[in-house]
Symmetry: C2
Subunit: 222 residues, 2 copies
DNA sequence: CGGGATTGTTTGGGATACCAATTTGGGATA
DNA sequence: TATCCCAAATTGGTATCCCAAACAATCCCG
C-alpha cells in the first residue's frame, strides 16, 4: 500500500480514537516526524482527511475537526430517512446468509467485551444494514454519518446500561428484517436513531466539562 | 485563492462539461503543462477530485471517472428518501423569501435560454430545495448526487420537450412547498426523480453509440 | 519471419529545496 | 515594568529532483 494511504489510515485512527484531541493543531512538520515520511504523502493524506471532514483548515493551518454537538440533531434527521429506506430495502433484498453475518457480528459483543469492541460494532452495525440494502450510495452516506458520530459515541459506550440499550435496539431492528417486517423495522430504526441522539446529547452535556478539561474543542452545545 | 483550488475548480469544470471525456487518461505531466503549475498542487487537486469521485485511479494512472449508467437506478433510490424529506422540511421551515429566491431561479430559464443555463438551473434547483430543509447533511448528499448525475444530464437538456417537462415538474414541487402541502410535494418529488431517471436511461440508450464515438467511457448500461 | 528478452522512455511516488508569510521572542525604550 | 518593534525561526505553498516500476519499442536469436 502506498505510504500516503498508510499515513491517512493511521492519522484517521488517531483522530477517531481521540488520541488527537478535537481542535488540536496539526503542523505538517510535526506529522513529518511522527510518521517518518516527507510532506508530500502527508499533505495528500491531509487533503483526503479534509474531504472526510476529519481535519479542517484554520487559516493556513490544519486542525483536527472539532466535535460539533449542534450537528447531532441534523445528523439524526439525515439518518432517519436513509436508514428506514435501508431496512426496508434490506427486507426485500437481503439473503438469510447476509442477515446471519450481521447477527454474528452483534454476537461478538458480550458483556465483558472492551469498550473499543462495543464502539466498533455499534458503528459497523449501521453500515452493514445499509449494505444489505444493496445501494452503494446509502452505504456511503451512512458510513460518513457514522464517522461523524464516531467520536461523540465514545461517551455512549462509556456506561454499560447505555451500550446495552443500544445493543438491544440493534437486535430488534435485525429481528424485524429477519422476519421480513419492513414497517416495524423502519419504526424501530427511527426510534433507535432518536434514542441514540438523545443519549448522546445527555452524555455530552454531562461530560462537557471533562472534555474541555482534556483540551477538546467541543462546539455548538446549546 | 490557492493554486491548488484553482486547478481543482478548473479541472472539475472541464470534467463536468465533458471537455475531458469520461474514461480519459490524465497524466500529471500533461496537467502540469495545461495549468502551468507544478505537480504538487496538481496532485493535491487530483486527490481532492478523487474524493468527489470525478477522477479515479486506474492502476497507477489517473483517469476521468467513467459515466456509470448502472448508478442511475441506485442514485434515484438514494435521492427519493432524501428529497422527500427535504421538501417536507422545507414546508415546515422555509420562509416566503427563501421560496421566492428559488422561484426567481426557475424564472431565469426562458425557452430561448442556452442549454448550459437549463443544465445549471436543473441541478441547482434540487440543491436549493435541499437548502430550504435547513439540514446541511441533506444539502451535501443531494449536491453530491447531482454532481454524479451532472454529466448524464447533458443528454436530458439536449431536447427541448425533455427539459421543459423537467422544468414543469420543478415548478409543481415548488408550488406545493409554497402551498405548505408536504404530502403532495413529496409525491411530486418522488415522481420527478423517477421520471428523470427514466428519461435519462432512455436518452442514454439512444445516444450510447454517439457517446462511444466521441470516445466516452460509458459503463454499466444494461 | 516471429517471438521473447532487453533496453530506453515515461510515469507516478516520494524527498528535498526554496520562498513568502506569519508567528514569536527578546531587547531597547519610554 | 510595560510596550513596541524588529529579527529570527517556523510554517505552509510551490517547484524541482530522484527513483523505481510500468510500458514500449527494439533487437537478437531461433
Amino acid at each position: 500500500m502506498s505510504q500516503m494511504l498508510q499515513i491517512h489510515d493511521q492519522l484517521r485512527e488517531m483522530i477517531l480514537s481521540l488520541d488527537l484531541g478535537p481542535g488540536e493543531r496539526l503542523s505538517e512538520r510535526w506529522l513529518e516526524s511522527q510518521f517518518e515520511g516527507s510532506r508530500t504523502p502527508i499533505r495528500a493524506a491531509l487533503v483526503r482527511l479534509e474531504s472526510e471532514e476529519l481535519v479542517r483548515r484554520d487559516g493556513r493551518n490544519w486542525i483536527v475537526a472539532p466535535i460539533d454537538v449542534g450537528e447531532l440533531e441534523a445528523l439524526a434527521e439525515f439518518r432517519i430517512p436513509l436508514e428506514t429506506t435501508a431496512v426496508r430495502l434490506a427486507c426485500a433484498r437481503a439473503s438469510e446468509a447476509d442477515i446471519g453475518g450481521v447477527e454474528e457480528m452483534l454476537d461478538t459483543c458480550q458483556s465483558g467485551a472492551p469498550r473499543e469492541e462495543w464502539h466498533r460494532v455499534g458503528t459497523d452495525f449501521h453500515v452493514e444494514i445499509a449494505r444489505l440494502s444493496g445501494n452503494p450510495f446509502i452505504v456511503k452516506a451512512i458510513a460518513g454519518a457514522m464517522t461523524r458520530l464516531s467520536r461523540a459515541r465514545w461517551l455512549e459506550v462509556w456506561t454499560e446500561p447505555s451500550r446495552e440499550q443500544a445493543w438491544r435496539e440493534h437486535r430488534r431492528i435485525l429481528g424485524f428484517i429477519k422476519a421480513n417486517d419492513p414497517d416495524s423495522a423502519a419504526r424501530e430504526a427511527t426510534d433507535h436513531i432518536t434514542d441514540t441522539r438523545d443519549r448522546l446529547l445527555r452524555s455530552l452535556k454531562e461530560d462537557r466539562r471533562g472534555l474541555r478539561m482534556r483540551g477538546f474543542a467541543v462546539i455548538g452545545l446549546r
